[in-house]
């Protein structure tokens, strides 16, 4: 059966790829040092595939049919967003069999994801994946979460989904080593007057609670209260899902910077497998 040999979450901001120098150097250096740390972890752990969670930005799905959860089942993924993100590659290798196992395993556990053979990984995935494997060789399974269009999963739902994901990945007999990664958040406002604001109090509180057993107070946070921290901040659902998958394992905060030039709080956390 597969082991989750690497588990981490990282914020994603297009600016980190398009114009990384726009951030104060010490902040960008600290954030990228966190990503370098997890890349070293990955090199040591040698996962055979990575399963990645990210929020939907109307790239793969729209309001005509928007799932709460969507799983990619493609053998390969075209990534038109890579061009404006100034990335060298444009084709990601998929792991369709692992994707199929995830769908079946989630259904056994009473979660009902949408299927997609043509998912289009956008900046939410690519900024994280490109740092994880700059050669774009590591087979990949994308899972999108609805994080912006109510009604939304609560953080408790996300945690329970993460527990199920942990069980599903560990029950896979097609590989021995899998990386599980969440992208998104932290605090940001999208397409509304407060764009550029960052609620640093929320971010520090969130990161502290995330590392507590069963996420401390986070699972009791109602969606309307979470929304007070920003209408894009709901992407932290991916982080809470990772915490569910890795419950019982120690979380470590590797870096945190509120980067106003990138309009978002940027952090990296990892769980010791």
């Amino acid at each position: 059966m597969a082991e989750i040999v690497t588990a981490y979450c990282a914020s994603h901001a297009p600016m980190q790829a398009v114009d990384p120098e726009s951030a104060p150097k010490h902040q960008a250096d600290n954030f990228f040092a966190g990503l370098e740390h997890v890349r070293d972890q990955v090199e040591r752990a040698q996962p055979q595939a990575v399963v990645m969670l990210s929020g939907e930005h109307f790239t793969s799905y729209f309001l005509d049919a928007l799932p709460q959860l969507g799983v990619g089942l493609a053998e390969k993924y075209n990534t038109p967003s890579a061009r404006w993100l100034r990335m060298e590659h444009s084709l990601l290798p998929g792991d369709a069999k692992l994707g199929e196992h995830i769908v079946a395993g989630l259904m056994e556990r009473r979660f009902w994801p949408a299927l997609s053979y043509e998912m289009e990984p956008d900046h939410g995935f690519l900024t994280v994946y490109d740092q994880l494997d700059p050669t774009w060789q590591l087979p990949f399974v994308p899972l999108v979460l609805n994080c912006t269009t109510p009604p939304l999963m609560t953080l408790r739902d996300s945690y329970e989904f993460g527990i199920a994901m942990g069980e599903v990945l560990r029950s896979y007999d097609g590989l021995e080593r899998v990386a599980f990664v969440g992208g998104g958040g932290l605090c940001h406002f999208v397409g509304e007057p407060r764009i550029g604001d960052i609620d640093e109090d929320f971010e520090r509180w969130f990161l502290e609670e995330l590392g507590k057993p069963d996420c401390g107070e986070l699972l009791d946070l109602p969606n309307d209260e979470l929304m007070e921290a920003g209408n894009g901040t709901g992407e932290v659902r991916a982080w809470v899902a990772l915490a569910g998958a890795m419950r019982g394992n120690q979380m470590t905060l590797l870096s945190y910077e509120a980067i106003y030039e990138w309009i978002i709080g940027m952090a990296v956390v990892t769980w010791t497998p």
Binding site: G191, E192, P193
Partner: protein, 99 residues
């Protein structure tokens, strides 16, 4: 009509521009003429890409963000553009606020 038709039109516009060569990107009027079920007020806001009105109508902020980026706006532009739609004061103090 439904705000969905407004949003569908704006989404189709953004997608069409994203997929077209730089010198052949369609204008909004061309997309809006494709039969979306819009009221006069909605059509006016869509065809003029009036972000303030579109936002006030309830257009999804992810679409507002895409349009603003497409139109070359930067973060400092949002507040004046959407000034009439500032959110109400908080009714409940979030638990993470210290002061």
């Amino acid at each position: 009509m439904s705000i969905y038709q407004v949003q569908k039109c704006l989404f189709d516009y953004l997608r069409a521009r994203e997929h077209a060569p730089k010198d052949a990107r369609p204008e909004i009027a061309e997309i809006a003429a494709r039969g979306y079920d819009l009221t006069d007020e909605e059509r006016k806001a869509v065809e003029s890409l009036d972000l303030g009105t579109l936002y006030a109508m309830g257009t999804h902020p992810v679409l507002i963000n895409g349009l603003a980026r497409n139109m070359g706006y930067r973060k400092a532009d949002y507040r004046p553009l959407l000034a009439g739609s500032m959110p109400p004061e908080r009714k409940v103090k979030p638990r993470w606020l210290k002061s």
